[in-house]
Amino acid sequence: MSRYFTEDHEWVEVDGDVGIVGITEYAQSQLGDIVFVDVPEEGKELAKGDEAAVVESVKAASDVYSPVSGTVIEGNAALADTPGLVNEDPEADGWFFKLTLSDADELNALMDEIAYKAFVEKL
């Protein structure tokens, strides 16, 4: 299992051809209290960079882009009732959706944890 990051502050945790996608601790800290998350439905085909989910605070709505291409297996149903999970635990329980990767090579263009940390520090 390994975790990759995008410059738009999504992470994807990959195990075989299954990826779990969420937003980073840095992203949640910039959004403030999250009040609503719209996650994609099972079966939705996503290309890398597609708008996959929406995360909302009371004053902003932000699109979450898919870090990789693939087919959605599951959206995180827990976020419907407790969107605050994204604030409390963005990089574990606050995940957004799972997908089967259609092109694992896309991962090569993403950052690893150390590179992302360095990226954020420069912001």
Binding site: V35, E56, V58
Partner: protein, 553 residues
């Protein structure tokens, strides 16, 4: 001597002292008020009717019994059909309780009077919401709008019976056209955003008539009101952002570079949302026209230039005018607005129906679908039932006639003077990002640059509430971090502005010094800061009986 038997021995008042909490939650003149659902019941009514003649049939079983809300709401008792009567409600009599509480008239008056006292309004004090233009609402306007000849006429009356009303629409239309130097005006749009839609639809209709329907891009500066991109998207256009320059204006070169055969038009606010006049407006208009597009101007800030500049002289094709801003129809806690759209000669044939036309004999005609016919074949259609916001037309015309051409010019001058006075009185206290760009127009813009760590614009805004002011517009426009947009309008006296400046200086200094008491402001308002996160996570949008609300959880 005779002894004072009442026992009331006047003494000097004692200063200080600590108040104990009140049983009622009231604090002197600050009165709490429950919801109508908590104080009313479905058996009470504050309206007396003449005895209703009975009709026999299913449902109307005479009196309406029952008491209390919810389960025990009044359920009319079905009665057997009376002799020779028919059920003329198609068997659809509403038998279930509706749950609408009533109050007697004194209770009603008290309920809404108490609620009103929890509101800040322009009648009470300075209300410097940038871009919203909170100016005095003359009561003559209210009185005129309530003349039965305007308030009590039906929109579908034969036109011969409403010549005075059509005359008002026509007279106001003439003023708007003349003040803006344009060719025509669409009066029916119901608000500014509706007016934007009207203008964009006219542009699209004009392009399609020229066989240019393939143009799909509308250029919108990033400082624009959110309604601009929302409107363009609604009308089927793709929106592309145009950047701002460092001095807070549209980047003219970037805009011109983007023009081409795919661009339908631009939407530009002038004066813009940073409070600056777009100097290059004429250049931009000429370039857009040369590229085959049209120029929409968001006229939300027309109050800054009315009587001094005519948008028609700047090459604009369409511009909405918020009558509730420039011409002082009341904002009413969020509407109703009114958004007539002035149109250039090129766009006038494409405006919506209906409209009022003055005929050679002085008679006013209403041009609708039926009468548009051969004369107005390009009208893009109807945007709204009936003729627009008549009640706002009468108020705006009253305001315009009161001011006249000279007074309106003075309105713009005083509004701009007041804003520049605020800008220069505060630019040593607060960061004015475009202060060096020259004079502002009707509003002064500051940023949150220089506040102590952890302090933001919202803390200054809430601190101003404690000082007795309505805060300025905050966090808009988006191009300035922690924006504070202050619009005094022509309504404020120098003394009122001086007091505001003193208050804002004090609050800003506290925010720069990191005064934590600002974080819990306001302290003297009917409510302290409200939890908007809670409201959005578990939306409660209607009242439910406590029992039901509990059961639903």
């Amino acid at each position: 001597m005779s002894i004072n038997a009442s026992g009331w021995r006047p003494e000097a008042p004692v200063a200080g002292g600590k108040a104990s909490p009140t049983v009622t939650g009231n604090k002197g003149l600050m009165l709490e008020e429950k919801l109508i659902f908590e104080i009313g019941d479905v058996e009470t009514t504050g309206v007396d009717f003449a005895e209703a003649p009975p009709l026999q049939g299913r449902g109307w079983g005479g009196a309406v019994p029952g008491a209390g809300l919810g389960e025990t709401s009044p359920t009319p008792s079905p009665s057997p059909e009376g002799e020779g009567s028919a059920d003329l409600l198609a068997g659809l009599f509403r038998t279930t309780p509706i749950g609408l509480p009533g109050l007697s008239e004194p209770e009603t008056v008290r309920h809404y009077t108490r609620l009103s006292r929890q509101n800040y309004g322009i009648d009470l004090g300075f209300f410097p919401l940038g871009s919203c233009t909170m100016k005095h609402n003359p009561r003559l306007n209210e009185k005129m709008a309530r003349l039965p000849g305007f308030a009590d006429i039906h929109p579908l009356q034969p036109v011969d019976s409403v010549q005075g009303a059509l005359g008002v629409i026509h007279e106001l239309a003439t003023w708007l056209i003349t003040l803006t130097g344009m060719h025509g005006v669409a009066m029916s749009p119901k608000a500014g955003a509706h007016g934007e839609l009207c203008g964009i639809l006219a542009i699209r209709a004009a392009l399609e008539a020229k066989g240019e329907g393939h143009r799909k891009i509308i250029l919108v500066p990033e400082s624009a009101h959110g309604t601009n991109p929302a409107t363009a998207a609604f009308a089927g256009y793709q929106v592309e952002d145009i950047p701002a320059t460092a001095e807070g204006r549209v980047d003219t070169q970037a805009l011109i570079a983007r023009l081409g055969p795919d661009v339908a038009g631009v939407m530009i606010t002038n004066p813009n949302t940073c409070g600056l006049f777009e100097r290059d407006m004429r250049t931009i208009s000429d370039a857009v026209h040369a590229a085959g597009g049209y120029v929409y101007c968001d006229g939300a800030n027309f109050n800054a230039i009315v009587g001094r500049v005519r948008p028609g002289d700047l090459g604009i094709d369409a511009m909405h005018i918020n009558l509730h801003k420039t011409f002082s129809t009341p904002h009413g806690g969020g509407g109703p607005g009114s958004g007539p759209v002035v149109l250039s000669e090129a766009l006038s044939p494409f405006g919506p129906l209906p409209f009022v036309a003055k005929q050679a004999d002085g008679h006013f005609a209403l041009i609708e679908e039926e009468t548009a016919g051969d004369d107005h074949p390009h009208a893009f259609g109807r945007m709204v039932a009936f003729h627009g916001q008549m009640g706002m037309f009468t108020r705006a015309l009253t305001y315009i006639l009161s001011h006249g051409a000279d007074g309106l010019r003075q309105v713009a001058e005083d509004a701009v003077l007041n804003a520049n006075y605020i800008l220069r009185s505060l630019d040593t206290t607060l960061d004015a990002p475009f202060g060096a760009s020259g004079p502002c127009m009707h509003e002064a813009l500051f940023s949150d640059n220089g506040l102590a760590t952890g302090f933001s614009t919202i803390d200054i805004a809430k601190g101003l509430i404690d000082e007795g002011f309505h805060p300025m517009t905050m966090y808009f426009p988006l191009v300035v971090h922690g924006a504070m947009l202050i619009e005094p309008t022509e309504t404020e006296s120098k003394a009122a502005i001086d007091q505001f400046v003193a208050a804002l200086r004090s609050v800003a200094e506290r925010a720069k010094a990191g005064d934590v008491s600002l974080k819990s402001a306001p302290h003297f308002a009917p409510r302290s800061r409200l939890d908007e996160t809670l409201a959005a996570r578990k939306p409660v949008l209607v009242w439910k009986e406590p029992v039901l609300a509990q059961a639903a959880e």
